[in-house]
Subunit: 302 residues, 2 copies
């Protein structure tokens, strides 16, 4: 059995890190695999809070996949993966995003429209009757909280809450709402981060019918505080050199967003969100989910 | 809840029909869906034998998907699906083939490299604690027998035999080996079928790096008997008008194949199978699986 790496997307978030850890453990137990969970970047502040809380070591950071066969979690598109992904064989995927994937052979590909990949993995553990170690359960609970904004995002499904409750119990989290607020707030201290860290922190690349988009997102408890840094943010966005850059600033307490847009497709973007763009700012009331509320209207508009 | 169709690939085989029936039943029970299993063609002789044996009505045959949302089984590539598949939304897939799929939104996509889709569905039923009706179990057992050639094909995995045994018991099949031989033989009476029926019966379209291939396959107990009709078969293959046509004739008792090839990529095809093409005939000892032993070498060669 040759070693295989398990990793999530670039700019790892809590679900990507937790899912790599959980999937690697599950595969080693059930499939007799020898896998290592790794990451395509350093943990963000929220993930670091969870790692510290559950005393889990940060994952080894890689730039290129170093094994011939790999498992992907929390992404399936090559643009979000390791740089050399086209040179290795993907033998398994656990994901909850839209699909843009092709292979030369059959493989394990488990994609479900649930709130987080950790939710999917919780049910896979249950199906296999494998006990989840308490620190792994803690990371998985954190991932559900992070991706569903404490079960409030529209991406939340009826399967997420039971999984979160069960995982919180295994992890010894007595009050998952209190822990969840702490976790989410740990990710929202934006003042200490540079403009470039903000726009890059959770950014992903997309292709909408030939239009290349970079879409970043930050969570905060005060959108206007972040918008005070508009010119600094726009300079950083411009410096990245993408055709289109959309930077979504999300108020996780009130479930609203505003976005900064730079690019030459203002008409289409305005149409996508059925609103005006004023001074590069788009008001997005009720929007919290890039996957469910930002990407689909852009896909439709182009 | 609006109605959704569930269907497998064109030129339906036993796994495609059985999986549509089983998946529809499972979805209606577990997801509260209102689905109807349908087929993209009439049942072949082997499938008809199973339908008669378990007293199951043949599925309604459709040409175009008639509902806005559909589930796919036993295929994921548009070229093998309903003609208007690009105009409807695929909300779920159960498959065991290579993947070539993209979507605008997350969906249920369960692909596992197991012997048949019926095997995957057996474990999905088990996970959900849903009882399988005995006629559905009979069709699912037939599908496993058909796709794995009674557990002898190299596509067979360690998960297929336990599934087949459990399904045979539910279906009241006392000796699944005896039933399996009867079933497979029912599909091999080739003498009564026209050349066009033979080359079309289980044919699928593929695209290898821009080279369009049609690959048909028949099972028999006597390859040479079928090859006596070579000129008749070649005329039928030519009349279809594909750039490349590969027609694989498989001896299911001895697990060997010979193939007829018409097209202008003889060098690449010969290289793919590491052999010569003599009088359009390729000797393929040990080859029984299009998916595992025919498509991957062609993919690699082009």
């Amino acid at each position: 059995m040759t070693k295989k790496l398990v990793f999530g997307h670039q700019n790892p978030d809590t679900d990507t890190i937790a899912s790599a850890i959980a999937a690697s453990y599950l595969l080693n137990q059930t499939m007799g695999e020898e896998t290592e969970p790794v990451a395509l970047g350093e943990p963000n502040a929220e993930t670091q809070f969870a790692l510290d809380y559950f005393k889990v070591k940060p994952l080894r950071v890689i730039e290129k996949a170093e094994t011939e066969q790999v498992y992907l979690v929390d992404h399936n598109e090559a643009a979000q993966s390791a740089k050399n992904i086209d040179e290795v064989e993907v033998v398994g995927v656990y994901d909850h995003h839209k699909i843009n994937f092709s292979s030369d052979a059959p493989l394990w590909f488990i994609n479900m429209p649930l709130g987080s990949v950790a939710t999917i993995l919780y049910y896979e553990f249950k199906k296999s009757n494998i006990e989840i170690p308490s620190d792994v359960a803690g990371m998985m609970a954190s991932a559900i909280i992070s991706d569903t904004l404490l079960l409030k995002s529209p991406t939340t499904t009826s399967m997420d809450q039971p999984a979160l409750e069960a995982l919180a119990e295994i992890a010894g989290i007595k009050d998952y709402e209190a822990y969840g607020l702490e976790l989410l707030k740990a990710g929202t201290d934006l003042s200490s981060r540079t403009a470039q860290e903000l726009i890059d922190g959770d950014a992903k690349s997309f292709d909408f019918n030939g239009h290349t988009f970079r879409i970043g997102q930050v969570n905060t408890v005060d959108i206007d505080e972040t918008l005070e840094r508009q010119s600094e943010l726009e300079s950083a966005m411009q410096a990245e050199g993408y055709d289109n850059f959309l930077f979504v600033i999300t108020d996780i307490l009130n479930s609203n967003s505003k976005a900064l847009y730079l690019g030459d497709a203002s008409n289409e973007v305005a149409k996508a969100f059925d609103t005006d763009i004023k001074n590069n700012v788009i008001d997005l009331p009720g929007v919290v989910s890039r996957k469910k509320q930002v990407v689909p209207p852009l896909t439709a508009a182009f």
